[in-house]
Structures are given as structure tokens and as C-alpha cells.
């Protein structure tokens, strides 16, 4: 059984207008997505800005009221508040936020910040608690004197590590990491990514790793889902996605990643322009008449893509030929 099973999740934000302030339409931030996260893996969720990544992440931790669908954890649907309470869900599922500064209460000392989930879920006496916090600080590589400092006294990377410490305080099974390194410099980003990997190795945590940076995702994730306009367009292993992308959108995304190899930049650019051209020309084929992605179709045991039937057939055929 997977750790988390997300089934046809929909989150629509109602937009009210008109005379009686009725809901006239809704922003379909997430519009029917399904995927599973296995224990111990890092699951990547990639997509353009506004594609619904954060909304998905927030729904999984229970921060967002979902419109329909289910998120199963230990056999229970945690989209219901009562189930979350009963399971002590947030003991097991935590979140790391993109903006490390705003996710740490600037008025609280590090000790109180890290201890917050402990205080809510575990009854510890003052000393035990302090000890746990110190251990956690040690895990994320911060000195004990951090205890009484305030968030703004730390650098971005350190703060993000504090966020990680808080997230792992209750020994969670899953951590939702919503763009944990997007705001960080290259060298600091490396620090944080290393930590996340390390903790995963040591504690067996799973991640839902949300990012728009395909380079980082490739570095971190075993399985990747590509999100577009509130739907998934392609899911697969790292290899599936990076080496055998099938959806035009995935291809376009991959082509847009800047290449660090200066020697081939001209080719890379031409390749990108070509993909872009194809994208512009063939867009319609890949989306239904409402501009939505098609339902996912499984191509291989690990690889699914949102394509209309005819294209799938073609690809299967060609794929066989290629292989």
C-alpha cells in the first residue's frame, strides 16, 4: 500500500460576482489529479507557475479545503477534518515552505518554533523538550546557541534548515516541500538539498518535492509528475521524464532548462526553438477542446502520459520501433 494515495483531487476557488454575489465561476487550481507517494521516496511535482502545485501540496497537509476527491492515508480519507484529528495526521505529515523567512514566526525564538509541533503532539516535560530541540538542531547542523535566537538572525540556508528541523520534529512519515530552495542561492541551495537527502536516508522520510526547477528535481526525485493547468500531463520515473518525455508540454519544459555546457549552446537553442515551434503548432492535439489535458494513459509500468487515444497508439508503436 502506498503511503499516500491521491484520488481525483479537485480544488476549485470560487469567484464571486454579480448582483447577489453568487459564485459565477471558479478557478480550477487543481482539477482532478491522482498519484501515489510511496514510503521513503521523493516524489517530484513540477510545473509552471500557477499550475496548481502549491495547492496540491497544501491539500495534502490539510491546509486547503478541497472540492472533491480523496487523499487516503492509513486507509482513511484525510480531507475530512475529523479524520485528520483522529489520526494525528500532522504528526505524520509536515511541510517545508518556500519562503523560509515568512514561514518562521519572527517573534518566536528558534526553540519555541521547533518545539511547537512537539508541544501539540507529544507531552514532554521542559527538559526533555529542550533536549529534543537540541537534538533536532544538531541534526540540521546548527549550534545549540541558535536556541534563543530569532529567525532573522540566520541566513536563508540556515533558516530553511530550521524549517526542516521543525518539520522532522515529530518524526513524520511525509514532508511536503513546497519549493524549498527556490529562494536560495546556488551554494546555499546545495546545503539544503544535501540535508534533505541526508535526513531521508537516516529517517526514511518521504518527500513530496514541489519545484519548477527541473535541474533540482532531477537531482532529488525518483518519481516525477508534471503538472499543467491543474492537471497532470505526465508521470514517470526520473528516467522516463528526462530521457523519454512524451507530452509536448514536458518536452517544452525540458527544452527550456538552460544548458550549462557552453560548447553546445547554439544547438541547444535551436533545439529549443524547434520544440517551441512544434508546441505552437501542435498544441491543440495535446489538449482537449476546453484546453485541458487529457486523462493519463499508462504507457509503461512507471510511465503515464495525458494524451488522446490516437496519439498514444502512435507513440506506443513508435516507441516499440525506437526500442
Amino acid at each position: 500500500m502506498s503511503l499516500i494515495e491521491i484520488n481525483d483531487l479537485k480544488v476549485h476557488y470560487p469567484i464571486r460576482s454579480g448582483f447577489w454575489n453568487r459564485i459565477t465561476y471558479s478557478v480550477k487550481a487543481v482539477d482532478g489529479i491522482s498519484f501515489n507517494i510511496e514510503a521513503g521516496e521523493t516524489y517530484g511535482l513540477v510545473g509552471e507557475s500557477g499550475s496548481g502545485k502549491s495547492t496540491t501540496g497544501k491539500s495534502v497537509v490539510g491546509l486547503e479545503k478541497i472540492t472533491s476527491g480523496s487523499i487516503m492515508y492509513k486507509g482513511k480519507d484525510i480531507t475530512k477534518k475529523s479524520n485528520r484529528k483522529e489520526l494525528d495526521y500532522n504528526h505524520d505529515v509536515q511541510m517545508i515552505f518556500q519562503d523560509s523567512l515568512s514561514s518562521l514566526n519572527p517573534r518566536k525564538r528558534i526553540e519555541d518554533i521547533i518545539a511547537e509541533p512537539l508541544r501539540n503532539f507529544e507531552k514532554l516535560d521542559a527538559n526533555e523538550e529542550k533536549l529534543r530541540v537540541l537534538q533536532l538542531l544538531d541534526i540540521v547542523g546548527l549550534d545549540a546557541d541558535a536556541l534563543y535566537k530569532y529567525p532573522h538572525q540566520f541566513s536563508g540556508g540556515q533558516r530553511q534548515r530550521i524549517g526542516v528541523a521543525r518539520a522532522v520534529a515529530t518524526n513524520p512519515k511525509l514532508i511536503i516541500a513546497d519549493e524549498p530552495v527556490s529562494a536560495l542561492d546556488l551554494s546555499v541551495q546545495a546545503q539544503v538539498l544535501n540535508f534533505m537527502k541526508k535526513i531521508q536516508r537516516e529517517f526514511g522520510i518521504s518527500y513530496l518535492f514541489i519545484s519548477h526547477d527541473l535541474g533540482v528535481v532531477r537531482h532529488m526525485c525518483n518519481n516525477i509528475a508534471i503538472m499543467n493547468r491543474g492537471r497532470l500531463v505526465e508521470i514517470g520515473t526520473r528516467d522516463d521524464i528526462y530521457n523519454h518525455p512524451l507530452h509536448i508540454y514536458t518536452k517544452r519544459l525540458l527544452a527550456a532548462i538552460p544548458e550549462t555546457n557552453v560548447n553546445h549552446r547554439q544547438e541547444h537553442r535551436e533545439q529549443r526553438l524547434e520544440v517551441e515551434k512544434i508546441y505552437q503548432e501542435q498544441q491543440d492535439k495535446y489538449y482537449d477542446k476546453d484546453g485541458k489535458a487529457y486523462p493519463l494513459v499508462q504507457i509503461s509500468p512507471t510511465h503515464s502520459v495525458a494524451l488522446p487515444e490516437d496519439l498514444v497508439e502512435k507513440i506506443k508503436h513508435e516507441g516499440e520501433v525506437k526500442a
Binding site: R16, S17, G18, F19, W20, N21
Partner: protein, 319 residues
């Protein structure tokens, strides 16, 4: 947009109804009645009874309220007991005075406040800024009526530059002289009210301008090679003034509050003075009507502000 405005107005209705009941009850709860106030030995208490009765003042409050509402739907707010004329007519006469003064004060307030706020912000932290800041603080701390009383004393009596009572000279001929005389009468209260009313606008504008000064789009304008003078003109002031425009509506509340004082000090027959008089005469119909009108004006003020804002600021469209 018209739809939105209409909806806002519809939302106002329950508020107004609740207010009307509240005011009605409160007015009735005041000790005394409209007729005893003018007690004189020639008046026969039996006649006062009689008057109370024919005016329905012995009925239970809900009966009175209901009658009042029924009349209201005929555009009739009842008769003033003190003035013995329809409240609508009485108040409309006074409202003209109050609104005329309020309008004038608003215009003057902006005339004073805008240059002050901009000047202070442009020279942020320097002497003119400090002087303007101190000025705003002092006016903020002095009770309004003290300014009025001292003002009328100096300019009205000692220097004799302005009339000190009424809204128009009794000998002014109709037409232009009357208008001139009216203007002359509201000049002093208007100026004093404006001097007092600048505080909020000056401070708000100042902080707006200071914010705008450091904004990215101003930096963009600089990088375009726009001279400093034009940057202030086309970007900073323009952008800071727009939110200020919306103050006009909100300032109605302040002006109406101030009208109680201005009109008392200047014996200026507007709604504020009428209210104060009606309180001591227990002129229920007038009290109720005035509180209601002030409440509705407050509401309209906020509505006006929202409308202004949505017109001047392309980013905002009333939802």
C-alpha cells in the same frame, strides 16, 4: 459597476432599518417629552396632554414606530414638535446649509492639505517636514471647538473680518449678493474646519509620497532619464493622490461630526445645530430623522469613496 453600487445600496437597507429602530427607541428613552420643554405658566397642562395624545405620543413604541415607517413610505418623516412643520421641509432647509459648508470645507481642506503633505514628503526629514509635522500634531491635539472659539473671537470680533452668526446676511438681495453673502458666512468656519481637518490627509499623503518615492516604478522612471521635477509630477504625486481622492467620501463622517461644533459656535443654522436644539426640546421626529440622515450620509460617504477609488485606480474594480 452600476449593479455593484445598487447592490451596495441594497445591503445598506437592513442596516438603515436597524439604525432607525435603535434611534427611535433611544429617542423615546430620553426623559421628558416635546411639549414640557417650552413650559410656561400660560400653557395649560391639559392642552399638553391633548397635544401628546393627538400626536400619538402615548402609544406603545412599536405602534409609534410602525406609524412612523408608514409615513416614511409616503415621504413623510413626521412633523417637528418644536418647529411645527414637516421634518422633511425643516431638515432640507438646514441640510443645504450643512452640506454647503461641508463641501466648502472639504475643498479648502484639500487645498491646504495637498500642498502641505507633498511638500513635507518631498523634504522628508528636513525642516519644512518637521514644521508641518508639528503643525499637524498640534491641530490633532487641540480640541476642535477651541480652534473655533478662538477663531471666531479673533477674526469675527476683534478684527471683525467675518460675520459671526447665521448663514446669510438678512439684507442681501436675491441672486448674486445672496450667494456672495452665503460664501462670506461660511468662509471663517470653512477655513477653521479645513485647518483642523488637514491632519489625516497630510499624514496619509506624506507617507504615500514617501512610499512612492522609493518604489520601483519611480526607479524605472529615473532610468528613463525623466527629470526629477517630472518624476514628482507624473509619477509620485499622481500615484499618491489617487488614494487620497477616496478620502473625500470618508471625510464626510468627520465633517458631519464637526458640524455639531461649528454650527453651535457660529450659530449657523444647519443640521448639527438643529440636532443639539432638538435634543433639549425632545423633538423626537427631528432627532430620529437627523441621526438617520447622518447615518445614511456616512454610508454614502464610504460608498462614494469606494466608487472614486474604483474609478481612479485601474487596479480596483468593485467586486
Amino acid at each position: 459597476m452600476w449593479k455593484t453600487i445598487l447592490r451596495r445600496i441594497l445591503i445598506m437597507i437592513p442596516e438603515i432599518i436597524i439604525l432607525s429602530i435603535l434611534v427611535f427607541l433611544l429617542a423615546k428613552a430620553m426623559p421628558g417629552d416635546p411639549f414640557t420643554g417650552s413650559i410656561n405658566p400660560k400653557a395649560d397642562p391639559a392642552q399638553i396632554h391633548h397635544l401628546m395624545k393627538i400626536n400619538g405620543l402615548y402609544d406603545p413604541w412599536y405602534q409609534q414606530y410602525w406609524n412612523w415607517v408608514v409615513h416614511l413610505f409616503h415621504g413623510n418623516l413626521g412633523n417637528s414638535y418644536q418647529y411645527q412643520e414637516p421634518v422633511t421641509r425643516l431638515i432640507s432647509g438646514r441640510a443645504v446649509n450643512t452640506l454647503w459648508l461641508a463641501l466648502f470645507t472639504t475643498v479648502l481642506t484639500y487645498c491646504f492639505a495637498l500642498p502641505m503633505g507633498m511638500y513635507a514628503a518631498k523634504h522628508e526629514g528636513k525642516l519644512p517636514d518637521s514644521i508641518i509635522r508639528i503643525y499637524t500634531y498640534v491641530t490633532y491635539c487641540i480640541p476642535f471647538f477651541v480652534i473655533l472659539v478662538i477663531g471666531i473671537w479673533i477674526f469675527g470680533y476683534v478684527l471683525g473680518w467675518f460675520p459671526t452668526t447665521g448663514s446669510v446676511s438678512s439684507t442681501a438681495n436675491p441672486g448674486f449678493p445672496t450667494i456672495a453673502s452665503r460664501l462670506y458666512h461660511i468662509l471663517l468656519p470653512g477655513i477653521l474646519g479645513a485647518l483642523f481637518g488637514t491632519v489625516n490627509i497630510v499624514q496619509y499623503l506624506r507617507s504615500e509620497v514617501i512610499d512612492a518615492k522609493g518604489s520601483d516604478y519611480v526607479r524605472t522612471a529615473r532610468s528613463k532619464g525623466v527629470p526629477e521635477k517630472d518624476i514628482y509630477r507624473h509619477h509620485i504625486f499622481r500615484n499618491s493622490l489617487l488614494p487620497i481622492a477616496a478620502f473625500a467620501g470618508y471625510s464626510i463622517t468627520g465633517l458631519l461630526n464637526g458640524s455639531l461644533f461649528t454650527e453651535t459656535v457660529f450659530s449657523y443654522p444647519g443640521m448639527g445645530l438643529l440636532f443639539i436644539n432638538s435634543i433639549s426640546y425632545r423633538d423626537y421626529t427631528v432627532i430620529t430623522a437627523l441621526v438617520l440622515i447622518y447615518g445614511i450620509l456616512n454610508l454614502l460617504g464610504t460608498l462614494l469613496s469606494d466608487i472614486i477609488l474604483s474609478i481612479v485606480d485601474p487596479r480596483i474594480r468593485i467586486q
